[in-house]
Amino acid sequence: MSGPTTQSADAPTRRLAGLLIAGAGLAVLVVAPFTGLYTVFLMKLMCFALFACAFNLMLGYVGLLSFGHAAFFGMAAYATGHVVKEWGFDPFLGILAGAAVAGAMGLVFGAIAIRQKGIYFAMITLALAQMVYFFCLQVKFTHGEDGIQGIPRGMLFGLVDLRDSLNMYFFVAAIFVVGYAIIYRTVHSPFGQALKGIRENEPRMISLGYPVARIKVMAFTISAALAGLAGATKSIVFQAATLTDVHWHMSGEVVLMTLIGGMGTMFGPVVGAGVIVALQNYLATIGSWVTVVMGVIFVVCVLTFRRGIVGEILARLPHRR
């Protein structure tokens, strides 16, 4: 796993290229709903893309596989659903509340789990997530297997009617861009460099005097809060928060997205999320083979292109070396 190096002689050109790519990305986001692509599909894609990017922050840049990210995603969805539906929060505030809940959970989980490495880290996050699942099953406000349904989309800031799918789309797009930008800033900052340092050689970072545990907990909290942001947004888009969002299958799905797209790349998880969401949508009509097809993709991916789609492309680009 070698991340992209940032040492460069021609910083201005790189910066320009970066701006160009960002501009192109934004342009795609703005144009997409008018190209005949379906807006609900695009919104779902963005929610999952943000979720996968948040997850990738831990897996790709800190090298820790969390098998419990569904807990943040799902709990945030419940929290948002509850405050918006029952307490009449503005959708924006509701989403912030969801993300805050997820962030707080991330802080606690991080503090508990962070001393573990590798498979043990995965297992302890799974254990904590299972407890969250149990909690969601027991408490009343989640409405058991019915879930919180009919969450109103409402009026954003009392002005913009989110029941209009185009308004909703741009709202989700804005959240996605902000979330993505936060991840980008985190990765491309001294903090992000420290994370990569920890991934490559933790003892060395400790001996260099970095507060490694604290850095990791911070990264985990950011990752959890952003996963929550994604879940919260999804609950507004689909007007529902249900147990599927907290189930461990969801944690598995996000691993799959990240892996297929390319872990440790900025754009990989977005592509991966696109592939999986598209498959779920379009395989829906082929009937009972969905599970098998997903399994085959998993296996093929692990056996032949472990760097993921974006990872493989980057590895083949000449100017990288």
Binding site: L65, L126, A127, L128, F134, T291, M294, G295, C301, L303
Partner: protein, 296 residues
């Protein structure tokens, strides 16, 4: 009626015995997982699917070939083991040099394929499988009625667990295995065929899962999704015991069975979550599990 911990003591004994039976089952499954991890360094997420396959092969043998329970107890694990060997040879063996993560993800995908395929052909609601004639009925133990088949399950699982432990800890073959785990290069230098050992180990590990599947067939409904939820519980057991520790997985399997049995009496809603609570606590106190030791 005598009471213990606030519930009638016969009921408590009954719950403990049932817990122990389930524990024996867990031990059998986690043992296979632990052996595979110990030797191959692979977390076999497909274990639940292969367990299901064992039960299904038994059902298929009975339905299409008229082969009954006792022969199936031998034949089905062999078939599952052969499938395992095929998987290991063609695909899994390419992943040994990589991070654990890839083995886990690969077997996760494999589990989806196996389960999805069975669902396609046989549906999800399951198939009936009756216990063999000699094991119908049961014994009245005074404090509870013990179905004969459950008695057999505990005997069979403990025998197999103990046998495996003996094989690995007390025989020459086992010592090769243990050595191959520690220093594969050195063992190879002694002229021992390490890849072959790994293949056979995987075959053996999944055959254990298949065996558990056949044992389970008369107890539970034979359904393609029977292994789906079991796998993460068994997983947790192996982690609590310490990854790769044979004895740890057996002891923890039995222990978790007992604790689950008690939870079912005192706080039944939490009985499927308690194992994760224990796992979290154990990992916080002993980061490498109860019987594990640090390894890189």
């Amino acid at each position: 009626m005598q009471e213990l911990l606030g519930i009638p003591s016969p009921l408590l004994f009954g719950q403990l015995l049932i817990g122990l039976i389930n524990g024996a089952f867990y031990a059998l499954l986690s043992l296979g997982l632990a052996v595979i991890f110990g030797v191959l360094n692979v977390i076999n997420f497909a274990h639940g699917a292969l367990y299901m396959m064992g039960a299904f092969v038994a059902w298929l043998l009975l339905t299409y070939l008229g082969i009954g329970y006792w022969p199936a107890l031998v034949v089905a694990p062999l078939i599952v083991g052969a499938v395992g060997i095929l998987i290991e040879r063609t695909m899994l063996s390419r992943l040994y040099d990589l991070d654990h993560l890839y083995g886990l993800l690969f077997t996760f995908g494999l589990a989806l394929i196996i389960e999805g395929t069975f669902i396609n052909f046989y549906g999800v609601s399951g198939q009936p499988y009756a216990p063999p004639q000699v094991l119908t009925g049961g014994y009245n133990l005074g404090f509870m009625f013990l179905p004969a088949y459950r008695g057999w399950v505990i005997v069979a699982s403990l025998l197999v667990c103990f046998g495996t432990w003996l094989l690995i800890e007390r025989t020459r073959l086992g010592s090769y295995l243990r050595a191959a785990v520690e220093r594969p290069d050195l063992v190879r230098a002694f002229g021992i065929n390490v890849p072959l050992m790994m293949t056979l180990t995987y075959g053996f590990g999944v055959a254990l899962a298949g065996f558990a599947g056949v044992l389970a067939a008369p107890l539970y409904t034979v359904s393609p999704i029977m292994g789906q939820n079991l796998i993460i519980v068994v997983f947790a057991i192996v982690v609590i015991g310490g990854l790769g520790s044979i004895l740890g997985s057996i002891v923890t399997g039995l222990g978790i069975g007992l604790i689950e049995g008690l939870t079912r009496t005192f706080y039944p809603e939490a009985s499927s979550t308690v194992v994760f609570v224990i796992m979290a606590i154990v990992l916080i106190i002993r980061p490498h599990g109860l019987f594990g030791r640090p390894r890189e």
